[in-house]
């Protein structure tokens, strides 16, 4: 383990930025935090987490896939893909690091999504342990330890110091760039911090939320649960939950006529939207209840069934904070899984 004084943090960022494009959470005018590209003068946010999840780095909200030139009856297709350059995402929380594994199991399984894969290969994740989890946090429900974040490098921030631990080759390479600014350290301060945070975690309002009653093999039983009517009644179908969710990965493919050709692009979509499954001859999910149910069944039953029991939720709490009608996955889990 290495450490550096927090006073040197801007020197560290400058050093990393010499070798990589560096992104880190910074405070915005509305006091929310957002991942932005580091530049001289950037100030690392103290916020617990960013409003938008870092999934944008690998699965951007919109991206061009290819271009077409259409002349009369003829079509010419241009592959516009470009290899991504190495970049660092600094300060990713344990929940969000886990979300990348969940996305990988969609985009990196055969046939590999080359757009996602290129960014994933070039992205270096520097994770940050939590010390002040909020009342909307429930990562422990999904077996995530916020004091022990994964990633290429894990960091722990104390009052005065930053502790670094490389977990992968990519991470070791990154640390080598800041070797002169860091020094060897023992794990005492980090261990103490972990212990303190663990105590806080146990006192959170959702500390006892469990996945009991969900998982593979529960499709028919839970699909037909009567509670979906009540739970979905006030859902506006706005899709905010899917957009802030680090693991939601449904997408649309659309064409845009530039006047000088056609760009086919991909953008985020939401199973909460009425047109998501609409076909020329009908729609297999006509009501908001069906669409609402799909989102939660997918995260808590269908995805685990296809992915060795792994749930497609990391308990980051963004949907709890942002849903305009205060409905969320925690309420669904309590109601359908049985109140604890």
């Amino acid at each position: 383990m290495r450490k550096c004084s927090l006073e040197k943090i801007n020197l560290v960022f400058a050093e990393i930025a010499k070798a990589y494009t560096l992104y880190l959470p910074t405070d915005q005018n509305d006091s929310s935090a957002k991942f932005t590209k580091w530049e001289e003068g950037s100030v690392w946010s103290n916020a617990l987490n960013t409003v938008r999840s870092p999934k944008d780095f690998f699965f951007p909200q919109a991206e061009d896939l290819m271009e077409f030139k259409v002349e009369g009856k003829n079509i010419d297709i241009t592959d516009i893909r470009q290899e991504s350059e190495d970049f660092v995402i600094f300060g990713v929380r344990a929940c969000d690091v886990k979300s990348f594994e969940i996305l990988d199991r969609v985009f990196l399984v055969d046939p590999v999504d080359s757009f996602y894969a290129s960014r994933r290969e070039h992205g270096i994740i520097v994770s940050l342990a939590c010390t002040k989890p909020s009342e909307t946090c429930f990562c422990t429900t999904f077996g995530i330890d916020c004091t022990e974040p994964a990633g290429d490098v894990s960091i722990w921030k104390t009052e005065t110091e930053l502790y670094w631990q490389a977990n992968t080759e990519k991470g070791e390479k990154l640390l080598s760039y800041v070797d002169s600014l860091t020094e060897d350290a023992n794990t005492k301060a980090v261990d103490e911090q972990k212990e303190k945070t663990s105590v806080v975690m146990k006192k959170l309002p959702l500390a006892n939320l469990t996945t009991d009653g969900f998982g593979a093999g529960k499709t028919m039983e839970l699909f037909n649960n009567e509670a979906w009517d009540e739970l979905s009644q006030t859902c506006l179908g706005c899709g905010t939950c899917t957009f802030v969710c680090p693991t939601c990965q449904c997408y649309d493919i659309k064409d845009f006529d530039t006047g000088n050709g056609v760009i086919r692009y991909r953008c985020w979509d939401s199973c909460m939207y009425s047109e998501f499954t609409k076909m020329a001859h009908g729609n297999n999910r006509l009501t908001q209840k069906e669409r609402f149910r799909q989102r939660f069944m997918h995260k808590l039953v269908y995805y685990p069934e296809n992915n060795d029991g792994l749930y497609s939720c990391v308990g980051c709490g963004r949907c709890l904070a942002k849903c305009p009608i205060s409905m969320n996955i925690a309420k669904v889990m309590k109601k359908i899984g049985g109140e604890k």
Partner: protein, 277 residues
């Protein structure tokens, strides 16, 4: 980077023939610009066709894989992409990618069996691929029965091929029906599910169904009444799709994705899925 394969990036295809089948169904013959098949497929698999600027949609490949020269798509005019295709002429290019989905188990489960194909309307399109595959390898299969119905005589897809080729094959019985009586039609009149019950098939065969949801529902009930097990009956599903490879989330039903785990399903497999297809 550009060397890495990407399934979302299609090939260019060109329409080399347009056959008007019915008032709202046309069959398009497609090859690559150098005159070859865009890719090989198995009976029941699908392809994504697109017109840049209009959209992309999934279609079943109606021609048999045994046709080594071209692929055919029988397409009903009912949405944006299909309306555009219906005004396309020979020589029009489009984009094509695939093949997608699981095929019918023609070489293992179906081999050596009597086959019963039941289709309604444009539902014949995906079955034509299997039917012609079974006819091509005729000695691998037993007796073949084909029950096909449509609204009227004019709405019967592949009518000429059915009469001239299928109905004249040894060991192939074709049973056509239309919904209402019509001048110049001396065949059966009535809906497909009832016709299947009237014909009263033995259960010594594998049945393959495709058609409108209501036809499938009642035909399956009819087959069950005749003693067919759900494990003997196959169908092919259709849901909205964007990627074709189980990632965009659109065709997800239960833990399955119709594009990659289907579109071919056995009815006992469907029992394990929520009724959302």
């Amino acid at each position: 980077m550009n060397m890495r394969e990407e399934t979302l990036i299609p090939k260019v295809g060109v329409i080399t023939d347009v056959r008007i089948d019915t008032p709202d169904i046309k069959t398009f013959r497609v090859v690559t610009p150098d005159g070859k098949k865009a890719f090989d497929h198995r009976p029941g698999q699908c392809a994504m066709l697109s017109i840049p600027g209009v959209g992309e949609a999934m279609f079943s490949i109606t021609s048999s894989p045994t046709n080594e020269e071209y692929m055919e798509f029988s397409i009903k005019k009912c949405g944006c992409v299909t309306e555009w295709l219906h005004q396309a002429e020979v020589g029009q290019q489009l984009t094509i990618r695939g093949p997608y989905g699981n095929p019918f188990p023609v070489d293992d489960v179906f081999a050596g069996n009597n086959m019963l194909f039941i289709a309604g309307g444009v539902g014949l399109a995906p079955l034509r691929s299997v039917i012609n595959y079974c006819r091509h390898y005729r000695d691998r299969y037993g007796k073949i029965d084909i029950v096909y119905g449509s609204r009227s005589k004019d709405d019967l897809l592949d009518y000429k091929e059915i009469i001239d080729e299928w109905a004249t094959d040894a060991g192939v019985n074709v049973h056509l029906t239309i919904d209402n009586p019509q001048d110049g039609w001396d065949g059966h009149v009535g809906f497909v599910p009832n016709y299947v019950k009237e014909l009263g098939f033995d259960t010594d065969k594998i049945a393959v169904l495709c058609g409108p949801p209501i036809m499938i529902k009642f035909t399956l009930e009819g087959l069950r009444a005749l003693g067919f097990e759900k494990t003997q009956v196959y169908t092919t599903l259709e849901l909205r799709m964007k990627c074709g490879v189980g990632k965009c989330g659109r065709c997800n039903v239960g833990a399955k994705y119709v594009c990659k785990d289907g579109p071919v399903f056995r009815f006992d497999e469907l029992d394990e899925l929520p009724d959302e297809y």
